[in-house]
């Protein structure tokens, strides 16, 4: 059972957390020209790498805050914990972020301009 350092509460047992799966999947806004195939990459495709994986976790039985976590899926080493909305800072985390196929995906491109207010 992992020990996870919640950015708000500190070190806690893994059982207090829930894993929200892959991080940095940008949500394409709906009024775009994405094909079904490109959209399905956002909706269905999830990575399951051997090695460094960037994940979202939530301290469900604690502060209920979400955060990002870079974890080695072989050694289970937690490389880095960083806030939502940010990208990794460590060399390993950065590499995993930049090398990810999503950076070039149409779905990610279609997430911009994000944060648009709907009136």
């Amino acid at each position: 059972m992992l020990k996870i350092n919640c950015p708000i509460c500190g070190n806690r047992d893994e059982t207090e957390f829930s894993c929200g799966g892959e991080a940095h999947i940008a949500r394409p806004i709906a009024d775009n020209k994405l094909t079904d195939t490109a959209f399905s990459e956002y909706l269905f495709m999830r990575d399951n790498p051997k090695g460094v994986f960037l994940e979202r976790w939530c301290h469900t039985s604690g502060c209920r805050r979400w955060f990002n976590l870079a974890r080695d899926t072989i050694s289970h080493e937690i490389i880095e914990i960083y806030p939502m909305g940010q990208t990794p800072k460590t060399a390993k985390g950065k590499k995993a972020y930049q090398a990810n196929w999503r950076r070039k995906s149409k779905a990610e491109a279609a997430s911009k301009p994000a944060k648009r207010t709907v009136k």
Binding site: A30, N32, F39, T117
Partner: protein, 1015 residues
Amino acid sequence: MSPKQSHRLRANSTAINRQKPVQFTFDGKQYTGFEGDTLASALLAHGVHLVGRSFKYHRPRGILGCGSEEPNALIRVRHPSNAEPNLRATQLEIYDGLVAESQNRFPSLNIDFLSINSMFARFFPAGFYYKTFMWPASLWMFYERFIRQAAGLGKVSKNHHDPDRYEHKYAHCDLLVAGGGASGLQAALVAANAGARVIIADEQSELGGWLLTDNNFNIDQKPAMDWASTVIKKLHSMPNVTCLVRTTIAASMDDNFILMAERVTEHLSIKEAHLPKQRLWKLRAAKVILATGAIERPLIFSGNDLPGVMLSSAARSYIFRYDVLAGTRAIIFTNNDDAYYTALAIHQAGGFVRCIVDLRDNPKSQIITTMRKLGIDVRTGHAVIAAHGTRHIASVDIAEYDTENGGPTSDAVHMDCNFLAMSGGLNPVVHLHSQRKGRLVWDERTSCYRPENKSDDWVSIGSANGTFQLGRALAQATRITSSLVTKLAKENRRIIVQEPVAIPETDENKQNWAPLPVWLVQSGQPYISNKTAFVDFQNDATAADIKLAVREGYHSVEHVKRYTTTGMATDQGKTSNINAIGILANTLNKSIAQTGTTTFRPPYTPTSLGAIAGRNIGSLFDPIRTTRMHSWHHANGATFEHVGQWMRAWYYPREGENFQQTINREVHATRHYAGLLDASTLGKIDVKGPDSAEFLNRVYTNNFATLPIGKSRYGLMLKEDGMVFDDGVTTRLAEDHFYMTTTSGGAAGVLAWLEELLQTEWQDLNVYLTSVTEQWSVASLSGPNAKTILKACMSEDKNSADDFPFMTMKETFIAGIPARIFRISFTGEMAFEINVPARYGLALWSHLMRVGKEFNLTAYGTEAMHVLRAEKGFIIVGQETDGTVTPYDLDMHWIVSKKKPDFIGKRALERTSMDEPHRKQLVGLLTEDPNKVIPEGAHAVLDPDQEIPMAMLGHVSSSYYSPNLKRSIAMALLKGGLNRKGQNVYIPMLDGQKPIKAKIVDPVFFDKQGDRLRG
């Protein structure tokens, strides 16, 4: 009168207390042992070896080992009200009144009808079950009964109630030492002296490990066990040390999370009431030292499973720890030096060592010379090629043996005996290391897999690390622990690095620990085959099975393990794995390192489910939530149903009413007069913040930005895949303040999902969510008399009830209680959902019922609510939807905004597959026979006479008898259903009855215009 302890020695061991005789029974026969005895040692003291029958062939089996490695001696213990199967006799300590019995025999241990299986051994080869499953399925149905009767380890208790209490304990420490042998004791001492909080745990009843089974050498100039006793006493006296015995470390997990099962009272005659039977420790250790020792390997030869054949180390344990000489005419069969010490022990205990058979050609050690000088027949370069006997070993065949080519090179000599101690070398206990994904390396010198120590957080030392020589092990324990302490001291001020700690000196001088690996002793005689050369005693897997598996194409060690089931029994191959790998490697002509090993997984030994459950059983298993009106429901005879964790009033039967009559009465009363439902369980979320309207606009399919203050709107929430996730009514309380309701079961999930969106996707939105489900009690008042009753209950401005349009909210007082009243309806009648601060719930409810009495107000439960809403065709999320249903499938196009540029699920609804004409769509069903109610979940077909398997059209999601329509009604999700209205479908019945014929109709059965609802 119990029989004599014929095999008990005069010596005085410390483990047993001769002043305290203990009475117990085994298979109905009374025996006497001593306090401290295990069932195995007490039985052996009476010369009883035969304790069980084997799994597949029902061969007689005796006690092989002396601890948790025991594969054979699995027994069942009877308690007054239940029984426990598969306990190891070698670990079970006896107590007064213990009732133990053997397993897997019919009708008795001595005469077992199923032992005939061994005559048919060729029909039970490797992969027996796989092969059986390949026979025609109909035959399997026939055989299954017999196989199930014959197979299986032990029988569980018929009484499902476990009267014992189990506890969980959470703990932290700086260092956990797993194992209390010489290395473990030294490690604990070094760390404890530095001030570290140390836990040392051992699965045996006392600390000491292998030192308990040897008396031939000294540590620090005193007998080894005296040294150990001094250390143990010291550790016990230190406040920073916890010594645990009878504590099995079951699992070693990430970041040094350790599960330990402590047997607290099982061994006691008088069990104190405040103590649990077992305690499951959940431990987080900064560092872990694995000093788990080693387990001896059996030698694999024909008949090696006969009672009276024992591991050499076990035989020595019984002599030194329990004063029991397990056999009086002994053969020692070995490939290393250690077994000579067993021979010496037997000799010194007064036994007759008939012959020492050593596979090695010309071994040279002091001990061998010593044994020869004692006049003992030592035959090197020989092997026991077969053991004979019926229910006990009676004789062996010994021959000169060629270990290079694998076979005897002389005629066999027949020798009688009543005992055989065998030693095939040692296997370090690497399980806890392996559980952490630690790698194993094959050590050619000592012929064993030892752990590759790579982690800073957990390290193996001593025999567990393949360091078998005591002097080296003690040095290693000192050195490694000191370095861990240095690391710990950097983070922890409590821990202070000491002067270099002295390494205890020892004269232990076993010159040759390294065994000569001979994985399988070939008899070379056609009439003695490998089929009785057992590798895995517990699963009855033989050398022949492994060879067969290879012939049938299984070459990977993992495949062979599963195909032959070697190492898959409750002992997880503690004695068998390495031998199996050795035989496999030889058969494949590979090295052991090339062949590889299987992975050990937790738990180390079987852990009882009771310990895992702890106190989380019965009413503590899952919390139950009740509403503030619960006591009224209870007093008024309600039957309850579980909705999520809630207990909801299901229906309120009156004297002499059956289920249907109650529902009919409640439904009828609500439609014709008035009904009151406890709706407190509805999920309620307070949404506040300047961006609340924008947020709701993004999570609901319809428009909430335009909702005026004081108005309510029904909303449908989708997940990103376009499928319906939840529904409910949301009301705008202020410009920046909304009150959202969700389904009762979905409340927690909706809150979590909305929080996730706010925290991860839309961090720019300024919105705060608060769960207020338990802050409000809700009574839902509906029916033609609802308004009259409401008026009568209102404390002020009663006339405002007349000006109360559908889908609006008023804040007022009911019976003096501040209330938010919502004019919304789930019954199709004029209805008011009265929300009051939770603590007034019962007062509100009682007042409404009192005032409503003259207007025929009837309390109704969730079942009547279901019927009332189904009459109106209102869906229930989770009943009409199952995560594959879109709003379009529900014929709810009207609720999906075409104008909003985005909302969760919008893009997914535009996928081409969403237009697929054969999607399941929501329709109503009217049965041809109005009294026939279709079972919910039943499947509909177009043609009931088609061949099986039939083409399914869809399934019935809701089905009730409607007392208002005086007929059955149903809702169904049918392929292309929206275009099938008017067609007939058939619902085939499981019980052989005629298929039910029904017509596809619109799902709104009652008041299609909604006049009653709007009033």
